[in-house]
Subunit: 159 residues, 2 copies
DNA sequence: AAATACATGTTGCAAATGCAACAATCTTAT
DNA sequence: ATAAGATTGTTGCATTTGCAACATGTATTT
């Protein structure tokens, strides 16, 4: 009975969890951009996310970083170019599996700006988590992870 | 004790729910694009989402649609240009609050392609929902809505 | 009534992003 | 051993997107 009702229901894409996710993500991005504009920082929000990723994954090559941030190699390289030019990361040639790679590491001045920005955003960040109960937050994160894993099995992110 | 530990924890942006949301949204987008490539459709994924929005909100003007899809007026107008050129929507001049506006409606051929694509995506869509328990799905949607509402109070989406 | 402010939509320009093609290097196959 | 294929990174080009400026028409203020 209930299943029949569910099957009969015409499903609009814009009512789907996927699309809700996309909309919600846009809100998050808008918030991040606003925060950055207020702080008037030396790096863009995208560079900030990449810098944070680099600091969490020392010694990764560009392609592995690209997989983490879900951008293609070209784009990843360009963001790293900018970060290197600003002195927040350094790249060095190395070999991985007998392949030439450029490994990326954060510099001291990169650590400084990352920590400064992270501390600035900490309050909003905590505020954001506090709108959920501890339990709901766990469920939210687990659900997002489930979505990513489910999609991974359908489409392989060609990076 | 536990609260102290939480407060002391350095919070990486890339560990935040916001960033997880962004990543997950990218997966969803990749899936949508893959589905569209397989079907080799006449419209793009973005146009599909806009067409669905138009079909759910009859007689809206462009700016109100822009608010729904979270794009600026310029971009919204361009997507509608394309959809109109393809015959899937029609625009007509009208007045709202004594203001000249262009109201947008879906055409019969727009209904046809929307229904066809929706039916094609129905299976994946259901599969997607089935990875959650009914309860977790409700919590997920409620949480996403909470995020949007919380951000709305901090940053006003200038559209 | 004239001027200022506001709302809606369009155009131009710049930045971001992805895709395809390429270079260089290594591995595998015939 | 030579050819084909795979991996990593870069460059060029096209598309998408947003922001600022503009055009048009309305509301408000002085």
């Amino acid at each position: 009975m209930t299943t029949k009702e569910k099957d009969l229901k015409i499903m609009h894409y814009t009512d789907s969890p996927s699309y809700e996710l996309e909309l919600t993500s846009k809100y998050c991005k808008a918030l991040l951009i606003k925060l950055f504009n207020q702080v008037c920082s030396e790096i863009t929000p995208e560079e900030f996310a990449v810098l944070d990723t680099v600091s969490c994954h020392k010694g990764f090559c560009q392609r592995d970083l690209a997989k983490l941030i879900l951008r293609d190699r070209a784009n990843t390289g360009r963001v790293l170019d900018s970060l290197e030019k600003k002195g927040f990361i350094k790249r060095s040639n190395d070999t991985k599996n007998n392949r030439l790679v450029r490994i990326v590491n954060i510099t001291p001045s990169g650590e400084v700006i990352l920590k400064e920005l992270t501390l600035r955003f900490q309050p909003i960040h905590e505020k954001m988590c506090k709108i959920f109960s501890e339990e709901d937050l766990l469920i939210l994160r687990a659900s997002l992870k489930k979505v990513r894993e489910a999609i991974s099995q359908i489409v392989d992110m060609q990076i």
